[in-house]
C-alpha cells in the first residue's frame, strides 16, 4: 500500500454577500491504494465540497484558500486547467449521486462509454467497443454487447448507477470519488452497488473516497472513516474504532441518533450537541389546553379500516380500452388500524405505500374498495358535512419539507389556516394565541410565527408541518416518510416529537417509511408492501424476529448491519 492522496491543511472559502463561509477548515486526509475511506457528515458539513475540490470542480464562487492536495506525490493545486483535465476522468474517477441526471438521455450507453474511453485512453474504434463491453461486464451488467445500444431510460436506477461506475472506470483511474452513490437507490440495490464498489477497490487496488451522510453505508463498506462537522474533521480512524468507540462528542451523538433495528428503545438519545439551542421553548399542559379538547370520541371500533382497495394509473392513454396501459398501483389492499396505535407501511419505492396513504387522505379516489375512518366511509358523499368532519380528524405530514409549505405565507398564516377555515376559535386573538402555543410545543418558539418558511432549516420546516397538521385537532396523523429528507440527528428529534405528541394526544398514526430501523422504533404493527400488494401484516417485533414472508426476510437481510455500533448511551 502506498499513499495515493494526501490532503493537508485544506481551507475552502465561499465568499457571499453576507460574509465568507468557510466550507472546509484545516482539513487533512490520506487515502491509500486499495482502501475505502468514508467521509461522513450531515448536510452542510462540507463533505461534498472536499470531493469537488480534489478534482477542481468547486462551484463558483468557492475557492481554495490554503493547504495542499497531493495526488501520487504531485501537487494538484499547482496544475493548470489542461493538466487537471488529464487527471480528472483518467486518473481520478467520479461517481455522482443521481444516476438519472449523470447520464445523457439522448446518447446510447455504448456511445457514452466509447466517448469516455477514447478521451481517456489510446484505444480507438473496435478496441474501444471491446473495452466498453469489458467494463460493463466488470460492473455486473449481463448481455453487455446488446446493452451498448440501449438508452439510459431503458435501464433501472441501479443499472444506471452501474453504468456510471463503468464510466468512472473507463480511464483506469487510481482514485474514485463517490459522492452519495446510493442515496437515490432502494436498499436492495444499495447493497449490490456497495458490494461492487468494494470488490472493484480490492481487485484493481483502487483508492476510494465514499462521501455519505449514512452511517449504515460507512459501516458496510469503508475501511477507515473521517467524520466531518461544520467544515472540520473531528475524528478519523478505522471503522471499528470510530463507530464502536467514538471519542469525539459529535461522533457519539451522531451514532446515538442512528435508529437501531435490533431493539426498540423508548426514545432516541438526546442529541442537543447537533441541533444546538436554537430557540428556547416551553411545553404546554396539553390536557387542559385547547389542543386537548378533541371532538367527542364515541367511536370504539377501528380507526381506519381499508377493505379490498384497488387503484390503477393510466400509463398510456388510448381511445380503445384494450390499447390503454395501466399500472396497478394498489392491488386488493386490506388492513385496519386500531385507535391509538402506530401502524407502519413499509416497502421500496414504487411499492404503492404512498398511494395508499393518499387514498386514505382523500387525495385520490379508489377504483374499488372502501375506506372507513372511524366507521364512516370517506368516499361516499365527499362533500357532505360528515365527510368534512372526517377530513378534519385526519391530517398528513409530508416527506419534502421544502415543498410542503407555501413560501408566500407567513408561518402564522400557514398554521392558522385550518383553524380559521373550520372556525375552531372564537376570534383572531385566540387563533394567534393557539398558533404561538403550537409553535412552542413543537419546539420552534413563538417568534417563528412572523417569519416566512425560507428562514427555517429542513428540520424546523418539518416542525411547522407538524404544527399545521395538529392545528385542526386531528385524531389520525398520516406520516409519509416524514424524516427521509432530514439528517439523522434531526430525524431523531422529529421522531421523538412525534412519539411525544402521540402519547399526549392519543393520536392514531399511519407511518410510511422505507427505513426499517425507523419503523422498528416507531411502530406497533407493520404491513409490508410490494408491487401494490400487501405481503405480510404483523406485530413489529414478530416481523423483525420471525418474518413470515420471503420478501420480508429479503428486506431484512439487506438492511445495513450495525453490529459495529456501540451500545446506546443512556
Amino acid at each position: 500500500m502506498s499513499t495515493l492522496l494526501d490532503i493537508n491543511g485544506l481551507n475552502i472559502a465561499f465568499p457571499t454577500r453576507r460574509g465568507t463561509v468557510n466550507a472546509a477548515k484545516d482539513v487533512s486526509l490520506t487515502v491509500e491504494s486499495g482502501e475505502v475511506l468514508g467521509l461522513v457528515g450531515e448536510s452542510g458539513a462540507g463533505k461534498s465540497t472536499i470531493g469537488n475540490a480534489i478534482i477542481d470542480l468547486l462551484e463558483a464562487p468557492g475557492r481554495i484558500t490554503g493547504g495542499s492536495i497531493r495526488f501520487m506525490g504531485e501537487e494538484l493545486r499547482d496544475m493548470n486547467r489542461d493538466e487537471m483535465r488529464q487527471i480528472r476522468g483518467k486518473r481520478i474517477g467520479m461517481i455522482f449521486q443521481d444516476p438519472q441526471t449523470s447520464l445523457n438521455p439522448l446518447m446510447t450507453i455504448g456511445a457514452q462509454l466509447v466517448e469516455t474511453i477514447e478521451k481517456a485512453t489510446s484505444k480507438r474504434g473496435r478496441d474501444a467497443d471491446a473495452h466498453a463491453v469489458e467494463l460493463l461486464e466488470q460492473v455486473g451488467i449481463t448481455e453487455a454487447v446488446a446493452r451498448l445500444r440501449a438508452f439510459p431510460h431503458q435501464f433501472s436506477g441501479g443499472m444506471r448507477q452501474r453504468v456510471v461506475i463503468a464510466l468512472a472506470l473507463a480511464g483506469d483511474p487510481d482514485l474514485i470519488i463517490a459522492d452519495e452513490p446510493t442515496t437515490a437507490l432502494d436498499v436492495s440495490i444499495q447493497a449490490q452497488i456497495l458490494d461492487l464498489i468494494k470488490k472493484l477497490c480490492r481487485e484493481r487496488n483502487l483508492g476510494v473516497i465514499i462521501v455519505t451522510h449514512d452511517i449504515g453505508v460507512i459501516a458496510n463498506i469503508a475501511d477507515r472513516v473521517a467524520v466531518m462537522y461544520r467544515g472540520e474533521i473531528v475524528e478519523t480512524g478505522t471503522v471499528a474504532q470510530v463507530l464502536g468507540a467514538p471519542s469525539h462528542v459529535y461522533t457519539q451523538s451522531l451514532i446515538a441518533a442512528v435508529p437501531r433495528a435490533d431493539t426498540k428503545l423508548d426514545r432516541f438519545t438526546s442529541v442537543d450537541y447537533i441541533e444546538g439551542n436554537t430557540a428556547s421553548f416551553r411545553r404546554i399542559d396539553i390536557q387542559n389546553h385547547w389542543l386537548g379538547e378533541t371532538q367527542q370520541n364515541d367511536h370504539t371500533g377501528t380507526a381506519i379500516d381499508v377493505d379490498r382497495l384497488n387503484l390503477s394509473f393510466v400509463l398510456q392513454k388510448a381511445v380503445f380500452k384494450r390499447n390503454r396501459r395501466m399500472l396497478k398501483a394498489v392491488n386488493n389492499v386490506s388492513f385496519s388500524v386500531q385507535q391509538g396505535e402506530t401502524f407502519g407501511l413499509v416497502g421500496e419505492s414504487g411499492s404503492g405505500k404512498s398511494t395508499v396513504a393518499r387514498l386514505i387522505a382523500g387525495l385520490y379516489t379508489p377504483d374499488s374498495g372502501t375506506i372507513n375512518v372511524f366507521g364512516k366511509d370517506v368516499n361516499e358523499n365527499r362533500k357532505a358535512v360528515e365527510s368534512r368532519a372526517a377530513r378534519q380528524a385526519l391530517q398528513m405530514i409530508f416527506q419534502d419539507p421544502y415543498s410542503s409549505l407555501n413560501a408566500r405565507l407567513r408561518v402564522l398564516d400557514i398554521v392558522a389556516e385550518p383553524i380559521r377555515f373550520y372556525r375552531l376559535t372564537e376570534n383572531e386573538t385566540q387563533t394567534r394565541k393557539i398558533v404561538s402555543d403550537l409553535l412552542d410545543h413543537v419546539g420552534l418558539g413563538a417568534s417563528a410565527a412572523l417569519k416566512y418558511p425560507h428562514e427555517f432549516s429542513g428540520g424546523q420546516r418539518q416542525r411547522i408541518s407538524i404544527a399545521r397538521a395538529l392545528a385542526s385537532r386531528p385524531r389520525i396523523l398520516i406520516c409519509d416518510e416524514p424524516t427521509s429528507a432530514l439528517d439523522v440527528s434531526v430525524q431523531a428529534t422529529i421522531l421523538n416529537l412525534l412519539k411525544d405528541l402521540q402519547q399526549e394526544l392519543g393520536l392514531t398514526m399511519l407511518f410510511i417509511s422505507h427505513d426499517l430501523p425507523v419503523i422498528r422504533q416507531m411502530c406497533d404493527r407493520v404491513a409490508i408492501m410490494r408491487h401494490g400488494e400487501i405481503c405480510e401484516v404483523s406485530d413489529v417485533d414478530t416481523f423483525f424476529e420471525a418474518p413470515a414472508h420471503d420478501y420480508s426476510r429479503h428486506l431484512l437481510d439487506l438492511m445495513p448491519s450495525m453490529t459495529l455500533l456501540s451500545d446506546p448511551v443512556e
Binding site: Q395, S403, E417, S436
Partner: protein, 311 residues
C-alpha cells in the same frame, strides 16, 4: 403572549435583504432603464403640471403658430422648444399628454389581459381535463391570428356597436378592451404551466387534506406562487401594449386625432413628412422607442433576476 406582534427585523431591512432588490442594485443596465422609464412615466403622469402648454385648451393654441420647427432650427421660436404640429400645438406638451394616454391604455390593457389570462390559465391547470382542453385550445386558436389584426377586429366591432355620438368618448375603452383581449393567451399559457408545477407540490396537497375548497386553494396558494413568471411577461407585455396602441392609432383605428396619443401624433406627422416637417413625427417616435426600450430592458432583467438558474 404578545410576542407575535413584535417584529424581528424591520420591513426596510427585509426589503434590502431581498435577492431581487440586491440583483437590481448591482445591475447598472437595469438601474439605467428604471431611471429612464420612471422619469418618462412620471413626466407623462404629471403632464398637466410640467407641460408648458395645454393642448386641449383652444385659448392656448393658435393656428398662426402651426408647423413651426424646433427652436434651434431657422424659423423656430424659443417658446416652442421642439416646434409645433399642424394645429399649432406645442410638441413637448403634446408628447407629454400623448404619452400619458399611451401609458394609461397600455397599463389598463395589460391588467385586463393579465387578470383574464391568469384566471383562465390557473383554472385550466388546476381543474385539468375537458376544462383545460377547451380553454387552452381557445388560446391556441387565438394565437394563430396575428394580434394586431385581432385587435383591429375587436376594435371595429366595438366601435360599430357604440352609438355614433359616443364613439369618440368611448374610443379609449374600446382600444383597451381590444388590446387586452388579444393579450390573454400569453398569460394563460404561462399561468397554466406554473400551476401544473405548483399543484404537484405538497403544500397544495396539504391544503386539500385540510379540506379547503378549490377556489380558495387557487386564490390563496397557487396564484401567489405563479406571480413571478407572470410579472416578467407583464412587463414585456406593457411595452407590447404601448406599441399596439400606437399601431392602432397610427392606422387610424384607435384614439381619435383630437385626443393626442403617441400613435396619433406619429400618424399626423407622417402626413407632413414629405413637406419637410420632420419634427412632428420624429419626436413622438423617439419618445415611444425610448419608453418601450427601457421597459423591455427592465423586463429582461426581471426575467434573469427571477430565474434561480441564472443567479
Amino acid at each position: 403572549m404578545d410576542s407575535l406582534d413584535e417584529k424581528p427585523v424591520t420591513r426596510w431591512q427585509r426589503f434590502k435583504d431581498n435577492d431581487i432588490v440586491w440583483s437590481f442594485l448591482s445591475s447598472p443596465g437595469a438601474m439605467g432603464a428604471a431611471v429612464v422609464a420612471s422619469v418618462m412615466i412620471l413626466a407623462c403622469i404629471f403632464a398637466p403640471l410640467i407641460a408648458p402648454f395645454d393642448p386641449f385648451d383652444p385659448g392656448q393654441i393658435s393656428l398662426w403658430d402651426g408647423k413651426l420647427p424646433p427652436a434651434w432650427v431657422e424659423g423656430g421660436q424659443g417658446k416652442y422648444l421642439l416646434g409645433t404640429d399642424n394645429q399649432g400645438r406645442d410638441m413637448i406638451s403634446t408628447i407629454l399628454y400623448g404619452g400619458r394616454l399611451s401609458i394609461l391604455v397600455g397599463l389598463a390593457a395589460v391588467c385586463l389581459g393579465m387578470v383574464l389570462g391568469v384566471s383562465l390559465g390557473v383554472i385550466a391547470g388546476y381543474v385539468g381535463g375537458v376544462t383545460d382542453a377547451i380553454i387552452m385550445r381557445l388560446a391556441d386558436v387565438q394565437l394563430t391570428i396575428p394580434g394586431i389584426l385581432l385587435a383591429i377586429l375587436i376594435n371595429g366591432i366595438g366601435r360599430a356597436l357604440l352609438p355614433y355620438e359616443l364613439r369618440n368618448e368611448f374610443a379609449i375603452y374600446v382600444v383597451i378592451l381590444a388590446i387586452g383581449l388579444t393579450d390573454w393567451p400569453q398569460f394563460a399559457r404561462v399561468a397554466r404551466g406554473a400551476t401544473l408545477v405548483e399543484t404537484n407540490k405538497e403544500y397544495v396537497q396539504a391544503a386539500r387534506i385540510i379540506g379547503l375548497p378549490s377556489w380558495l386553494i387557487m386564490v390563496r396558494h397557487i396564484v401567489p406562487n405563479t406571480l413571478r413568471p407572470i410579472l416578467v411577461i407583464a412587463t414585456i407585455g406593457l411595452a407590447l401594449a404601448i406599441i399596439a396602441e400606437a399601431t392602432l392609432s397610427f392606422l387610424g383605428q384607435g384614439i381619435p386625432p383630437t385626443t393626442p396619443s403617441l400613435g396619433t401624433l406619429i400618424r399626423v406627422g407622417n402626413e407632413y413628412l414629405f413637406s419637410g416637417l420632420w419634427w412632428i413625427t420624429l419626436f413622438p417616435a423617439v419618445a415611444l422607442i425610448v419608453l418601450v426600450f427601457s421597459v423591455n430592458l427592465l423586463g429582461d432583467w426581471l426575467r434573469d433576476a427571477l430565474n434561480p438558474k441564472l443567479r
